[in-house]
């Protein structure tokens, strides 16, 4: 069964980029759900327990990335789904704040499709670790 992913970002261009990335290489054939703000993103997250990974932009109107993470934690929604925060900045304090809020990892911009493949591979590995 192909993997399902959720991308939450207020930039239409980024959604096009994600589509490009999820259509090639090891990710080809993936199902991708799109949300343009945190509120939409939360709704879709709740509706799809089968998601392999969520890519969450930090700065969005109407509930930003951190707010979404906070709400998910307080409602304990699908804690098994890894959420990756996508951001341009990266001070250690920011990262710590994100992880504290519940982000599993960070994806720093600018990224290329290969970076998404890597993050997905790590997430899948974590969910079902291979034989050691």
């Amino acid at each position: 069964m192909p993997n399902a992913f959720l991308v939450v970002d207020d930039s239409k261009l980024h959604h096009q980029m994600y589509n490009l990335a999820f259509a090639r290489g090891t990710l080809a054939g993936s199902t991708v759900y799109h949300a343009t703000n945190g509120r939409e993103g939360y709704t879709l997250l709740a509706a799809h327990p089968e998601l392999a990974l969520v890519l969450l932009d930090l700065n969005m109107p109407e509930m930003n990335g951190l707010e979404l993470l906070a709400r998910r934690r307080s409602e304990n929604l699908h804690p098994h789904i890894p959420i990756v925060l996508v951001t341009t900045e990266g001070t250690p304090e920011d990262e710590a704040r994100g992880r504290a809020a519940g982000a599993w990892d960070y994806l720093r911009k600018p990224f290329q499709p290969a970076d998404i493949e890597r993050v997905v591979a790590r997430a899948l590995e974590r969910a079902a670790p291979g034989p050691t």
Binding site: L20, N59, Q112
Partner: protein
Amino acid sequence: MAADENAFSELIQDYIVECLPLAEQVGDAFVELERRWQEGDPGDNTLAALAGPLHTVKGNSAMMGIAPAQTVAHALEDICALLTAEPRLRGDEGAALLVSGSGMLIDLVRRAAGGAQPEAAAEFAEQARAFITSAQTGAAASESAGESTERRAGDRRITSRREEAASGPGSVVRVDFRRLDALLEVLGEGMIEQSAVIELYRRLARKVGPSDEVADLDRALLALQKTIKRMEGILMETRLLPASSVFNRFPRLVRELAHAAKKPVRLVTSGGATPLDKAILDRLGEPLIHLLTNAVVHGIESPEERARAGKPAEATLDLRATSESGRVVIRLSDDGRGLDDASILAKAEALGLEVRASDPEQLRALIFLPGFSTVKEVSSLAGRGVGLDVVATSIRELGGTIEVSSRPGQGVSFTLSLPLTLAILRSLIVEVDRERYAVPLSHVTATVRTEPDTMHQINQKGVALWRGDLIHVADAGELLGTGAPPNGSRRFYVVIGTGARRRGILVDRLIGHQDIVVKSLDTTVGRPDVVSGTTILGDGRVACILDVVRILDQRVPA
């Protein structure tokens, strides 16, 4: 990472579609804020709301590998952050930086498809850094010392930076292009009036004879001419836009055409920074779109054909712009099937045209004639079947030329040559049968006095021996319909054209060189073949401008 190695580079048009409105929104807001700050209104909500769009443009630019835009957006973001936190810094200097930076950002985003120069962006980032640092140290100094001398030193630093910012490469103003057109028109009138004054001066000088006053007047007029010439130069520069402003829409267009035609085709553009007069640029889009459509729909073979021919499945269209000695050359090539010479020959014969099958260049030039379409199917994409004759006419109306070259099975290449400016032309004024005409100097190779021993008749066609070559010579009166004169009145001929297409035109007198203001011919007068426009000479009379390209195109009368 360079933009062209970027996996997302095919989304460049989408990038522009998303980021250009954001950049413009930010730019407009900064202009508004500048006004408000001058009135003492801090404009809080506006400033805070701009953080989002700037952040998006910065992130998108980074994703697309467009470093200059990313740099400028980042710098603007930083300045905004500083000014949001420190309302007392919201003033002229900060506003000037924001306005100039956003103008640069808009430009960078708009020209993203054509490639941008990173230096200007880096310089702006420097200015931003300097402003922020000085603001922070200035704040620290005034807080700690509270000394008026410290403050004055800070002010002086800020003032000189303001001057730098004002004169820096990022300073941009927005001007309605109609103002530039109006300016050009007024300049044109000024040049006409200048010619009139010079003409009057000449008459006066002849009447009065040499004298100190005449010499002074001569010098003054020369200085005036130089100044007006400089004005013309600067004005022409303001009207220049990069070729990418018209190239930008094409990658998406080609993608759509290719998709509809079910052929994989990609468009590669280069030379997007090449400058062109906006007036020309505005009218270049349509002919280029026709050429691109033709290439995709008719020039490129189906994927199966290409496979059989051993060509890569994805066809390539190459569009490039370059500056070449005062002209802009735009080349559009494809790696398709090339022109079918046999079809062209057949069509020519069907139309009753006389052709030499042995001259492929002349043969292929026929495709620009009206009614000449060798396309077998009419496709709905190519639509109303706009022919290449319309393209050729559009290019000619811009004062340009279009040529085609082709290699069967390998592709077709169109070369457009356009003048840098539309409106002012260096020309040679000649007299034929007491009427004066202007010949664009860029097409004039030489002027020659007719000597009996160099003029001959071969098969009753006039030829001349010029620099060792035999060139065909036509009578201007015949060309222009005033008729060939009795022997002897044509004392000069003007050599026009280059290479194989070179001719002499017999005229009565050579009047001189003149910068003329081109006034397009009213459609009321019609569309003469030999005249491309009109101008007003120093004596107030209207003179026709000879359409040298069309004259050269004309077949030598049998």
